[in-house]
């Protein structure tokens, strides 16, 4: 019955949806007819958005005024555009978070915000000068011209820092908001905001299928801010360009002055919309994907190599190594028909809304009270769900609002194969394994300390083995991202894949500022030629041109010359600075088939975890760069400069509180352990050699022997079982410790065997303890206080002296007294100290994922593992000694034979006294 009911319910719902759809379609058909034209749309999805009038900023229909569109008033007819603009970090870009220079946590003295309005980036170089400066790079109007290409409008393109409309902000001399730098003189001159207008938030850039972004950017660069949004519509048929002017096309509007239905293409943002500013998106499966070069337009692709596309790499137009075998898509989420907005949704979108469990009373499983679609469409939050990255510092209060991998994916069913799952998942982000390789290229470093004749710096890409005219002819090898700690948002960090981009540049003054680009160009170039003195110093081969090898600041003289030039322009104390900006990578995700899965990828000498990443092929001015502040990644390793001048970043597990079995070791532990082991071995060899030599010279007397049933069946069994377990444990432990030396063994299998053996050892030890306790045999191991030390010394003296003379063993060995005092001491130590310690550390290492807190209190793996290793060395040493001492019986193999067969030939001392009668036992040292 319940099933029926559910089905019925679903049928009703589906029928309802169907009816609704039909009604909408019918309505559309009617509307289309009313428009008197066929509504031919290329959109596969039906167009729900109604027709609307396009208004200018005064609310007048643009058909009447001929003025540019005001999105705020036009879209504001139905949507709360003021609310949208006020709740969008895409519009704000740091305006609301402006601080005094140098207080953003980035470590840069000239940064004034966390967004690109006020935050410097080494790729783009130019920066918004702090308001308090008196020498400027970019002021606000020029920032809009320059960085408006990746700004949706609104925010700093519309309002002053005090929240006034820029068109209403009174002119102030020396103020960055109402002035612009004269490119010739470097002096400020007034900017007429009334004339230029402001850039309102551009709805079309994200909500129409083919916005004309280039026309928008051109209009911004021209300073024609008011027209930028209108230019976005060029090519849609709504606006046309006539003799350099943008003119509204009356044919696109109906008689009521509304945009005709067929011109209404408003849509939810697609990934391609996002791609205009964020990176390469390629959803067309039939045309091969080609990356045209290292262009900053495709921002995330340049900074990390990320490409969001369902296309298989083997079908792309790029020249990739072993391309035929690359049957994976660029990004599995793109392949699975997700869009950017599937994860980066508007935070109050009821479809994706995440109810915070802490807000909900415990007795409620679902709270149905939420905003409805109408409210959402009126006031859609344009704060989008975001993760956290090393590079993105804007709107950090929204960090990790998006669903993380584990919010959608259950690892329960998919990662059963992974041993120590929790340990791995705590130490590693999903991306660490699922973004194993970047197949595209990305930027490696920027050298702004030099300027090429076209006025640009040197920028170098990584992952390109061979340059080509275009990227389709270049040979693109990609790169393996470096694993660095990334904040999880809950106070923990996990390793995540990163690209590192290093930038060197000149700074001047105190507090320091980057040398403005115009000054940099001016000190190098006279027109499009280098100054003669620069040429003279840099042109080593005298061919009249500076090639890549020459155009490098690699000597004090070169540095001093450029510094002198800069100083001559009034820039005090010029010096070279370098910084490393980490970019974390969260796209280009692969399915399990392509993820890093092999144990030895990390557990070996060459570990993925510590794979270094090249930062640059040289170090301008010899200046080592520093990590940009505010990113956890900084703490993950060290810079290494190779002899050939290349600079690497080397991650260090020690810096990351990690201990990767098979990769990490504590050097002194291994040295000490090895030394003890080798020392023992050497001692044994010397001792044995001396015994042999002594025996030859001085044959021992034939002892009187008596055959005794020395070891019971169970004693022998537990002994040999323990022998096998310990030997194998030591061997498998060694494989785990140094898997690279034992390539034939599967790491995973060896770990498993090690654990099983350990279990056998522990169980065997427990059972034999029980046996010894119950049978009273335990007394064998307990030293008797009376005369113990004397007897121990006597036994020692025997090993040092007597044994060479062929003396009798000092103590007889009997069934009740099998162990001599030295053995008792040794076994007391082994059984009460070494074994328990090894078992406990082993269990804790195994239990790191079960009881991580307990293990953490004892130092976690970095503390436990070396300790476990040290004890293993001691065990190895014991075995050598133990085996050697078994040979000290009346014949070398007597002891071993006895332990195998149970019957021992024991020496009988004295005058035929029966050895069984309470005399102290003593014999071979097995």
């Amino acid at each position: 019955m319940i099933m029926r009911g559910k089905k019925l319910q679903r049928i009703i719902i589906l029928a309802g949806i169907g009816l609704l759809l039909a009604a909408l379609l019918a309505q559309q058909a009617v509307l289309a007819q009313e428009d008197g034209e066929t509504a031919v749309t290329t959109l596969p999805q039906p167009q729900y958005h109604p027709s609307f009038t396009i208004l200018d900023e005064d609310g007048v229909n643009v058909l009447d005024s001929g003025a540019p569109i005001s999105t705020l008033t036009t879209c504001g007819q139905c949507h709360d555009t003021a609310f949208i603009e006020q709740h969008s970090f895409h519009a704000d870009l740091g305006l609301s978070e402006l601080t005094a220079a140098g207080e953003t946590g980035s470590g840069r003295a000239w940064d004034t915000s966390t967004g690109i309005f006020g935050k410097w980036n080494g790729l783009t170089y130019r920066y918004l000068s702090p308001a308090e400066d008196d020498y400027f790079d970019l002021t606000v109007p020029e920032w809009v011209q320059w960085y408006g290409n990746r700004h949706v409008g609104g925010g700093p393109a519309m309002y002053s820092r005090d929240g006034e409309l820029l068109t209403e902000t009174p002119y102030k001399p020396g103020d960055i908001e109402t002035n612009i730098v004269d490119a010739e003189t470097g002096e400020l001159m007034p900017w007429d905001w009334q004339e230029s207008g402001v850039v309102e938030m551009n709805c079309f850039l994200c909500h129409t299928p083919e916005p004309n972004n280039q026309a928008r950017i051109d209009t911004l660069r021209a300073g024609d801010f008011r027209w930028a949004n209108t230019a976005t519509l060029l090519g849609s048929g709504i606006v046309e360009e006539k003799s350099g002017e943008l003119v509204w096309n009356a044919a696109a509007f109906n008689e009521d002055g509304e945009l005709s239905k067929s011109f209404v293409t408003i849509q939810d943002p697609t990934s391609e919309n996002c791609a205009q500013c964020h990176g390469l998106v390629h959803v067309d499966s039939l045309t091969p994907l080609v990356l045209e070069g290292c262009t900053p337009d495709q921002w995330s692709t340049i900074t990390t190599g990320q490409i969001f596309s369902p296309q298989r790499m083997s079908d792309s137009g790029m020249n990739l190594p072993e391309k035929e075998t690359l049957g994976r898509s660029w990004d599995i989420h793109a392949e699975r028909v997700l869009e950017c907005t599937s994860c980066h949704y508007a935070l109050n979108n009821p479809t994706y809304y995440q109810e915070l469990s802490e807000d909900r009373p415990a007795h409620l499983i679902f709270d149905p009270r939420r905003i409805d679609l109408g409210e959402y469409l009126n006031r859609p939050l344009h704060e989008f769900a975001k993760g956290s990255s090393a590079q993105g510092t804007l709107a950090s209060e929204l960090d990790n609002t998006l669903r993380r991998c584990e919010s959608c994916h259950s690892t329960e069913v998919t990662h059963d194969w992974l041993p120590y799952k929790d340990t791995h998942m705590t130490a590693l982000s999903c991306e660490s394994c699922h973004v194993p390789q970047m197949y595209s290229s990305s930027r490696q470093f920027m050298d702004w300390t030099i300027i090429q004749t076209d006025g640009t710096p040197r920028s170098v890409c990584r992952g390109v083995a061979q340059e080509g005219d275009t990227f389709s002819t270049a040979y693109i090898t990609g790169f393996e991202p470096v694993l660095l700690p990334l904040d999880n948002g809950d106070g923990t960090t996990s390793l995540a894949p990163h690209n590192l981009i290093t930038t060197w540049f000149w700074v001047y003054g105190d507090p320091e500022r980057p040398v403005p680009l115009r000054d940099l160009r001016a000190v190098w170039l006279d027109g499009d030629q280098y100054y003669a003195d620069i040429m003279q110093l840099f042109d080593a081969n005298g061919d009249g041109a500076l090639d890549e090898m020459e155009l490098v600041i690699d000597s004090d003289a070169k540095e001093a010359l450029i510094a002198a030039h800069l100083e001559a322009r009034g820039l005090e104390n010029p010096r070279i600075q370098g910084e490393v900006q980490p970019y974390s990578i969260h796209h280009d995700v692969a399915t399990g088939d392509w993820a890093t899965k092999e144990c030895n990828a990390c557990h070996g000498d060459e570990s993925r975890v510590t794979a270094a990443l090249q930062l640059s092929s040289y170090t301008p001015g010899g200046v080592l760069p520093t990590f940009v502040g505010g990113s956890v990644a900084a703490g993950g390793g060290e810079l290494v400069e190779n002899e050939d001048g290349t600079l690497f970043f080397q991650p260090l597990t020690s810096e990351q509180s990690l201990y990767v079995l098979g990769h990490d070791n504590v050097t002194w532990v291994d040295w000490l352990g090895a030394l003890l082991f080798v020392g023992t071995l050497a001692g044994v060899v010397v001792h044995g050699g001396l015994r042999y030599w002594a025996m030859r010279r001085n044959p021992p007397h034939e002892p009187r022997l008596r055959r005794v049933y020395m070891y019971g069946v169970y004693e022998r069994l537990w002994h040999w079982l323990q022998t096998a377990a310990i030997m194998l444990l030591i061997f498998t432990g060694l494989v785990i410790h140094k898997p690279s030396l034992f390539g034939v063994f599967s790491f995973r299998g060896v770990v498993l065997v090690h654990n099983v053996l350990a279990a056998i050892l522990v169980i065997n030890a427990a059972l034999s303890l029980f046996y010894h306790l119950v049978s009273g045999e335990i007394q064998q191991f307990l030293p008797r206080p009376r005369g113990f030390f004397d007897q121990a010394i006597e036994q020692t003296l025997f090993y040092i002296r007597g044994i060479f003379k062929g003396d009798e063993h000092p103590f007889e060995k009997t069934k009740d007294r099998k162990l001599n005092p030295l053995q008792q001491m040794t076994y007391f130590g082994i059984l009460n100290v070494l074994l328990p310690l090894q078992v406990v550390t082993g269990i804790l290492m195994w239990g790191v994922q079960r009881w991580p807190d307990v293990a953490a209190r004892l130092g976690g793996l970095p503390g436990l593992a070396p300790f476990h290793t040290l004890i293993a060395w001691l065990f190895a040493q014991f075995i050598v000694l133990h085996v050697y001492l078994t040979t000290t019986g009346h014949t070398p193999l007597a002891g071993i034979k006895a332990m195998m067969l149970g019957w021992d030939d024991v020496e009988v001392h004295g005058d035929g006294h029966d050895a069984d009668e309470g005399q102290l036992a003593g014999a071979t040292g097995d």
């Binding site: 099933m3 089905k7 679903r10 049928i11 589906l14 949806i17 169907g18 759809l21 596969p44 999805q45 697609t270 959803v283 067309d284 499966s285 369902p310 298989r312 083997s314 049957g327 898509s329 793109a334 392949e335 699975r336 028909v337 399915t591 088939d593 055959r707 049933y709 069946v713 022998r716 069994l717 040999w720 079982l721 096998a724 377990a725 194998l728 299998g749 498993l752 065997v753 099983v756 053996l757 279990a759 056998i760 195998m900 067969l901 149970g902 019957w903």
Partner: protein
């Protein structure tokens, strides 16, 4: 306690057992069960007996050879006489909406390529596995008319001419001595050239399969499959059928005969299998090497225009060829309806000659890829049925360019009245795509069908919308098959 020298061996064994047994039991848990091995479904290839020494000539005719074959292979003749390769006709099948079962096949029905063999036997029966089918009187019960060589000879020099007779100059002795299990060369000789030339008809069979690379077909390219590895043959009954000539779903051949168990690692892909045929993803494009005919306009024939076998021929009209086309997709349960000669059509509408059966509410139907071949072909504009014209031979259209005469002669042969009024009407044929199978690296991906750039017309298939968002067809099936949900 007795002393035993060999007690230690027992001890050693026990100790080793205590260690090894737990390890093995733990390791064994770890290994995943083997998915069904597809190779178990592939027949073992037995070396064929070399017939060189067994057969001596000389042979005058093909039938001489056949007689020689039948001397040893006594049952083969009777086996062949009941096979479709001989009969060109199916067992009787009851088509939807009809009272009587009918037989379907090349023998008695028409298509929208060269239309039909009746009255044109001599040309069409070049590909018949027999000798001398030149009119309706052909003796189908005579074993000696069977052509053993066309399927079994391996010299490559055996060519058939009119009425299926060996061509002039063929070395019958050499051919007969070379016989072996049929290869792609034997099957492909006819099947890759269906429609009168390479790649014309099927869209998934063409001469690129004679020596296929891995990228043409994974079975034939990567593993060097022969046709008969999948089209398993017993007693000369070859497995497999196509709805162009066989409307029933008997004798079918499916991927799952070899690829069983949990086929894909990805649960999401496996959840498609109830509704999507393997071919839909694994035959992503048609005619990937050689262009195939997509449209044939007979009404344009007879004009003196520049000729190009892929564009226009005076005897045939104009064509549209396409290479690497994206298939059409339709529900298909293995059966098809069939246009039968004499069926009345609506000349204003498209006539489908072999409509695949099944729909979204048919649980046995799956979405299949098809090549749809469209044509404008001759019909009787008074009686409103399609015409079987005579094209080949005396009085045929290809010599006289006279449609009226061709129609009169053709209809006379099949015994249907011809009004003397003819016209041309739009027809369609469905050709399921099932060869040129691509491995997973080249199979369709989610975004090929789903999302804004998908190739499926979901609403035409009967879904509310893209099932990736709207859900699958289970709600549609519920009304038909109770309990589908629980499945």
């Amino acid at each position: 306690m007795k002393e035993s020298k060999y007690i230690w061996i027992i001890g050693l064994v026990v100790t080793l057992l205590i260690i090894i047994v737990p390890i093995i039991s733990v390791m064994a848990d770890d290994t995943e069960p083997d998915p069904t091995d597809p190779w178990t479904g592939v027949p073992e290839r037995r070396p064929h007996v070399d017939h060189t020494s067994l057969i001596e000539g000389p042979f005058e005719t093909g039938s001489d050879v056949t007689r020689r074959c039948l001397e040893c292979h006594e049952d083969a003749g009777q086996q062949m006489l009941t096979s479709v390769h001989w009969k060109w006709e199916s067992d009787p099948v009851l088509l939807p909406g009809r009272d009587e079962p009918v037989t379907i096949g090349k023998k008695n029905q028409i298509n929208n390529f060269c239309i039909g063999i009746q009255s044109n036997w001599t040309g069409c029966t070049r590909c018949h596995a027999g000798y001398g089918w030149e009119n309706a009187e052909f003796d189908f019960s005579n074993e000696e008319n069977i052509d053993c060589l066309v399927c079994h000879e391996q010299t490559g020099g055996y060519v058939k001419s009119n009425s299926g007779l060996p061509a002039e100059g063929v070395d019958l002795v050499a051919a007969a001595q070379s016989v072996a299990t049929p290869t792609r060369q034997n099957c492909g000789g006819c099947h890759f050239n269906g429609g009168g030339g390479n790649a014309v008809k099927h869209g998934d069979l063409d001469s690129s399969l004679f020596f296929p690379t891995e990228s043409v077909d994974v079975h034939m390219g990567r593993f060097d499959f022969q046709c008969v590895d999948c089209h398993k043959t017993e007693d000369h009954q070859i497995k497999g059928h196509l709805i162009s000539v066989s409307a029933d779903d008997k004798n079918t051949l499916s991927c799952t005969e070899c690829h069983g168990g949990v086929i894909h690692e990805d649960e999401r892909i496996n959840s498609h299998l109830d509704a999507v045929a393997c071919q839909t993803c694994h035959v992503p494009q048609g005619a990937i090497r050689d262009a195939t005919k997509m449209d044939w306009d007979w009404s344009a024939a007879g004009q003196d225009l520049p000729e190009d076998p892929h564009v226009y021929l005076k005897i045939k009209g104009s064509f549209v060829y396409e290479k690497n086309f994206t298939p059409d997709y339709a529900w298909f349960n293995g059966k098809a309806d069939r246009y039968l000669l004499g069926d009345v059509i609506d000349p204003t509408q498209m006539t489908v000659l072999n409509q695949p059966l099944g729909g979204i509410d048919d649980p046995t139907a799956k979405i299949w890829p098809f090549k749809i071949h469209t044509a404008r072909q001759i019909y009787d504009s008074e009686y409103n049925y399609l015409i079987q014209p005579k094209t080949v031979g005396e009085g045929g259209y290809w010599t006289e360019f006279d449609w009226d005469l061709a129609a009169r002669l053709g209809m006379e042969t099949i015994g249907l009245p011809y009004s003397g009024e003819y016209g041309f009407v739009q027809t369609e044929m469905y050709w399921s795509l099932t060869h040129m199978v691509q491995p997973k690296e080249h199979a369709l991906q989610c975004s090929d069908c789903h999302g804004e750039n998908g190739r499926m017309d979901w609403e035409a298939l009967g879904y509310y919308g893209d099932p990736i968002r709207w859900g699958g067809r289970t709600p549609m099936l519920d009304s038909v098959v109770p309990g589908m949900e629980e499945k």
